[in-house]
Symmetry: none
Subunit: 193 residues, 4 copies
Amino acid sequence: MKRAVQKRTLETRARLVAAAETLVADKGYEALRVEEVVLKAGVAKGTFFAHFRDKEALMDQLIGARIDGFLDEIETLPPPRDVAALVAAIEPLMRFMTCERYVFDIVLRHSGAALTEEIGPIASTFGRYDQVVSGWLAGSSFRRDVSPGLLAEGVQAFSVQAMALHFCALHSDRNMTHRLAEYLEAWLMPKTT
Amino acid sequence: MKRAVQKRTLETRARLVAAAETLVADKGYEALRVEEVVLKAGVAKGTFFAHFRDKEALMDQLIGARIDGFLDEIETLPPPRDVAALVAAIEPLMRFMTCERYVFDIVLRHSGAALTEEIGPIASTFGRYDQVVSGWLAGSSFRRDVSPGLLAEGVQAFSVQAMALHFCALHSDRNMTHRLAEYLEAWLMPKTT
Amino acid sequence: MKRAVQKRTLETRARLVAAAETLVADKGYEALRVEEVVLKAGVAKGTFFAHFRDKEALMDQLIGARIDGFLDEIETLPPPRDVAALVAAIEPLMRFMTCERYVFDIVLRHSGAALTEEIGPIASTFGRYDQVVSGWLAGSSFRRDVSPGLLAEGVQAFSVQAMALHFCALHSDRNMTHRLAEYLEAWLMPKTT
Amino acid sequence: MKRAVQKRTLETRARLVAAAETLVADKGYEALRVEEVVLKAGVAKGTFFAHFRDKEALMDQLIGARIDGFLDEIETLPPPRDVAALVAAIEPLMRFMTCERYVFDIVLRHSGAALTEEIGPIASTFGRYDQVVSGWLAGSSFRRDVSPGLLAEGVQAFSVQAMALHFCALHSDRNMTHRLAEYLEAWLMPKTT
DNA sequence: TATGAATGAGCGTTCATTCAT
DNA sequence: TATGAATGAACGCTCATTCAT
């Protein structure tokens, strides 16, 4: 009995998410309006707020799902052997995160939450991300004098830095990944001197 | 004649800034309202926008000035010999930048602008910051296999990471600097492998 | 200079009130929607709330103005010589106040506020009302063993009672005034023990 | 079989009422939410509306029961000999009715319903109240030139007036009863002139 | 009877920004 | 430059009530 009810709930929630995704695909994340979402989903406004604490919660859900998709993709890849491969693996995800300044801001705002108790969709992806990268770095030819976990955190820090600069400098596509590559070369490679 | 006008202009601007600073000291940055600023400064709302492109421009001014103050302090310090000293030197600045999530967000938003043409107060401070840190790292016992400029960018990336996590994890004061120290140990020390 | 600005303000306010009055004439007070008012007045929603604290404040204004109109009428009348004349004088006002349950409720809610500092339009009319009735009762053949002011308060109390019952009992028009007449006969006439 | 069902029905209803009373004792009448009632009672929202036509019906029930309690108390009293005694007898009831503006509004809304067919709990209490007061006034030294029934209605009218003013004027406790005493002195006492 | 997800209209609010004077 | 009324698009929220199961 409880199941049946939950089913309806899940359906409604799915309808809201689907409607939102359609709208995002059309106009982007920043332009998303709660009004339009409920209209397209064919539900009442109150229903929206019964499912999502606020608009930001929907964004968390939406963006988190997208990131998870990229991580699924990334997890299928073999551990990168060098920085170039690592950057290439991460690139699609970074490109998504920087598709809109608005998206990047949201991601950043949730980036550290992984350490808190109330973990939302985006925050969870950071956990996955760390695990994946840590795994790669654990059994690799990369630097080994520090723990893979710390290395992974550094990769995250440099990724964020590269993405942040992406919004300021001349927006050539190459810059972001090139900059990241340069960072990681210095961060991950065993001492060559 | 021109001078007289400029003088009045500067006075008005100064009055606005002073009013804003008083309000910030009282309620913090996020709670600052243009309404209150013009009220306290004794000018009309329209006047505000004759002096500042938008509210963000005032924030830029306000926060930039504070950061510059910290940098003045930092520049008087002798080059740090180890990571601990480096972290200690940076700490007051980091503490200010994380006094409010809102402030941190603004700082981040302007952090990369240094590479752009239109450089605002906050962006300028990043330039100064980079120079100071680069200078420190240039003639030091820290890692030398990469350029001081790149090293400085790394210090910035890790600082941001540490500050970002500060807002999520359990907010003990120690965490932020400890985490940064750990990062920088791995980033700045000559690799021993 | 200040005057010119105030003029615009007053015009806008007048436009809002006029729009509201048109809508009320059409659909009644309860059906009044802020949305429709601003639409008809051709102003932004924010403007409405810059002029009226909330919807209730507009209602206060609207209903207060109507009551004032009735009081203007009442003031032109000669002091009533008997209860029948008194009731007849008051009747149009009572009829307005009971035109909608919603209106009566608002009037009641503001009825006693005359004694407070923050006196709104409706509350002010109660002051006028009291003065008018007191004046009538002062030099009259009505009961004189209590002050005219107290007598007037009693008239108010019985009017309210009659109106309140109007909404419950069988809604014949005669009831309200008849009941009031009966009350006032007992309240105002010299006691004959 | 029917009995068993009725029993369960009554139990559920009692649970709802008990839950509501607890909540009211805690936060007052106005803050009562159906949501919280069903939560505390451990039933579904729909169940609430299977037992009460609407929220107002529960309020009617709740407040009516309280008033009945006061009337029980009042009925044990000997007929008051003077206005002071009468006011003292009524005072606890008036104090309850003015414990919240919200309560007073509800009471008022139901006050005249006694004359209608569909008599709810609160309306019934007004019937009792009228009977009690009429009884007191019937065989008393109070005014006798008008019927006890009419006198009782006047007492009601003045009580309402006193209570209404209680919400506006300076909220000293004395005002309400003092004002009522003054009213009733003029309303109930035989002509003294 | 019981369930509880869904309804839904509308209010209040926000506040940086604009523009006619 | 200065003025300050007006803008305006959403968001959040409310919460009693309904209805399909």
